[in-house]
Amino acid sequence: MAKPAELNPDSPALEVKTPPTSRETSKLAGPVTWVDDRIGLAKLAGNIRKVFPDHWSFLLGEIALYSFIILLLTGVFLTIWFKPSMAEIEYAGSYALLRDVRMSEAFASTLNISFDIRGGLLVRQIHHWAAMLFVAAMTAHMLRVFFTGAFRKPRELNWIIGVGLFSMGLVEGFAGYSLPDDLLSGTGLRFVDGLIRSIPLIGTWAEFFVFGGEFPGTLIIPRLYMVHILLIPGLLLGLISAHMALLVYHKHTHWPGPGRTNRNIQGYPFFPIYVAKAGGFFFIVFGVTVLMGAVFQINPVWLYGPYNPSQVTAGSQPDWYMGFVEGAIRIMPNWEWHLGHTTWSWNVFLPGVGLMGLLFTGLALYPFIEAWITGDTSEHHLLDRPRNAPVRTGIGVAGMACYAMFWLAGGNDILATQFHVSLNAVTYFMRVAVFVVPVLAFIVTKRICLSLQRADKERVLHGSESNIIVRNPEGGFSEAHVPLSQEEAYTLTRHPQPKALVPNGVKVGRVRQTLSRWYADGQVPKPTAAEVAEAEHHGAIEGGEGDERVLEGSDSGDAH
């Protein structure tokens, strides 16, 4: 953690300055009064000097917000030219290789945007890159919130809103990806048709209602267009507003540190610091996506050609965020029931609808499950360092590992061709890996967390390494240790430790007790005040400046 720089007591910056007492009337008084008289601006604006804490990991959600704004801006430009129509026409635009080819108006207008509208291809590419970034940033932000325990009371509802945003972001992305009606996106729609059909009992009805009859029909693109530019963006906007409003109401969480508690918040004021920092960051995110749109090609639909239900390319894959569903679909065993005159297509329903349902439900319920296990009902505004919640961190990494395995399985053909292994072997391996790798990831992560806890304790009790090797008269070598600053020692010891629930007058069910023991198991007890005092005492009499430890025989007790 950061240590304060040494101060020069003579520095002019440290002179005590008193702010000017008699304030001149602000030049802004006129306009502010005018607006305030009409809409009560001063009450509405609230505290423009509201405090926000500073940390790089708090920027991830901002990236998601900004890419959403970029999507709205570039999306408006694209709607000016895009024609959401599946009517077949002969292409007559300037891309010679597809001239006179029959295609839908949707595809032709996408070519038009790419070749005949100045800046059109740039905006299309920015839009696609921003969409990738939107989902990626939401994912990273969600992981940050998960691993630091920021979803705990009172923020559970905001977590659920976030899960809603995440799930709708995937649907929104998929809808947009489908609109150009090129060979790749049409293949994606064909897949969705199979997915919808596979729903037991109502699948065929759902398919006919979504597509307006049989696949592909002529209605799906106009309908997805409405979903993509009106329905879901509207819902996203509403949910984002609620997400931000709750953020302001709860105030941002902050990392533990000297002087930081559950009752205060330390940081910089919204105006002017965060207006400049957050506003500036918007332009940085925008600038980077524009540069990506300028030099990194994405979704070159003219190379794929128009959708043709009798064609597909090897290596066809969805955009990255649907990769886990694609992988699940690929490695699922071919289970299908044929009961009487009905077909129950578990091989499509479970990995498609089932897996997405499981992911979103699991995410939405997690805060409540954890609170139930720990019996924790208090408010939390200080974040957990991931190591101090080893089981949660383990669960999170296990979830990521599971997701990663499904995602990799989505490229089983690519893995097979690139690494010259059997496609069948990759598939069989992945069928096992999606279950085994998360368990291994959990065990390894929990061990790492506990080791880090031990290292923290060691550091508090024995100080930090000074990088000075001392040779003693007997010829042995040891490294001098310097005690930690009180700030750092405090930061490393202030965290709460999960405790197993003890039935204490209240009835605690067996399952809950077992889970709670499992959750608290293995914690390295924090150093007690007595241990800290004892360690300080040792340091003072033996090392004077620092605590020395012998390098050989590295057991921590040896030096004393």
Partner: protein, 348 residues
């Protein structure tokens, strides 16, 4: 756990001292920073003018070769100028905040998310007063009636969506997803070029993508893609001695020429990755693999049902023709599909 319950082995030292920045103590550094920020902002108009020049002056089809890759010059230059201009505004704003704005950290207080108890009680009391005032307690049917009436209004809202698509009744299914445009005597023509296929056109080991001859007539109608999404086929010729042809399908083929639906029974991708030696056909989307030398049974992957086989024969001129439609619905499974009729390993 609240702060009170928490044991703190090391007492809270309080907020850290605020160290001044370099730009706080050295006016020259502050001036340098100021100049850098203004320079970044001054570069923006230059880039914007460059953007305008590119927009109007660079022809649409001009190309730019950079690092061995070919770029569309207009797209790339518009993006580079606009991108760097945007980026500079962002960097300037953040540099301004970091080096010149006061960086004194301030501390705010937090209050629990809950309202003060008085406020909560007042709301509860107000609710009670309001409920009393509404007379709903004495005249209970008002509440039930209103809830029921509002609930009933969902019905028109939902029912008016019933026309989203045709209803897949048994009759409708038989006309749509359970049927293709294949019929007795329809010639097999090559996909794209529409050339009728003769048995003699195919050599052993060859695979041809084909369509029904009558598909071309639909070209200008909305039915075209729908028909094609079901009727696409592959025609393969294998050595009759190296494949298994069940008794019931003896007359579905012509001298080892067999015809299968091209639409995968998993989620409907068109399949045509042909492994000539093993007679396997692999779906490029999800790698379901079918054995065309064994009536299209699944040998690997997530598909659960055999590829439907189209019975074919030859007409008087020697052209390959269908003997009828597929005997089972093609494409992905759906709930009402009767899948007991599909070919299974061991069937005759």
């Amino acid at each position: 756990m609240s702060d009170k319950e928490l044991d703190l082995p090391v007492p809270d030292p309080g907020l850290e001292e605020h160290p001044p920045r370099f730009t706080d103590v050295d006016p020259a550094a502050a001036d340098r920073s100021y100049r850098q920020i203004v320079a970044m902002l001054a570069a923006v108009p230059v880039l914007v003018i460059a953007f305008l020049v590119v927009y109007f002056a660079v022809p649409r089809d001009a190309e730019l070769i950079l690092f061995g890759s070919t770029f569309k010059m207009q797209t790339t230059l518009l993006g580079l100028t606009a991108g760097f201009a945007t980026l500079l505004i962002g960097i300037a704003a953040i540099a301004w905040a970091r080096s010149l704005m006061s960086d004194e950290e301030i501390v705010g207080e937090r209050h629990g998310a809950a309202s003060p108890p008085e406020a909560r009680e007042r709301v509860l009391a107000d609710l009670e007063i309001g409920i009393d005032a509404s007379a709903i307690r004495r005249r209970k049917l008002l509440g039930t009636g209103m809830a029921g009436a509002l609930g009933m209004m969902l019905l028109p809202a939902v029912v008016s969506l019933a026309d989203l698509g045709p209803w897949p009744t048994a009759e409708e299914r038989a006309k749509t997803i359970e049927k293709t445009i294949w019929a007795e005597g329809v010639r097999l023509v090559t996909d794209v070029t529409n050339v009728p296929l003769k048995a003699t056109d195919l050599v052993v080991g060859q695979l041809v993508n084909a369509q029904p001859e009558n598909l071309e007539h639909l070209e200008d109608s909305a039915e075209y893609q729908i028909a094609k999404a079901k009727a696409s086929i592959i025609v393969v010729r294998m050595d009759p001695n190296s494949i298994k042809i069940p008794e019931s399908r003896r007359d579905w083929q012509v001298d080892g020429i067999l015809c299968y639906s091209k639409i995968c029974t998993h989620v409907g991708c068109p399949i045509s990755l042909w492994e000539q030696q093993t007679h396997h056909l692999l779906c490029p989307c999800h790698q379901s693999t079918f054995d065309l030398g064994n009536s299209g049974v699944v040998v690997f992957g997530p598909a659960a049902r055999s590829l439907p086989q189209l019975p074919i024969t030859t007409d008087a001129q020697g052209y390959l023709v269908a003997r009828g439609d597929f005997t089972v619905p093609v494409g992905p499974s759906f709930f009402e599909r009767d899948s007991l009729k599909d070919f299974q390993e061991g069937d005759r």
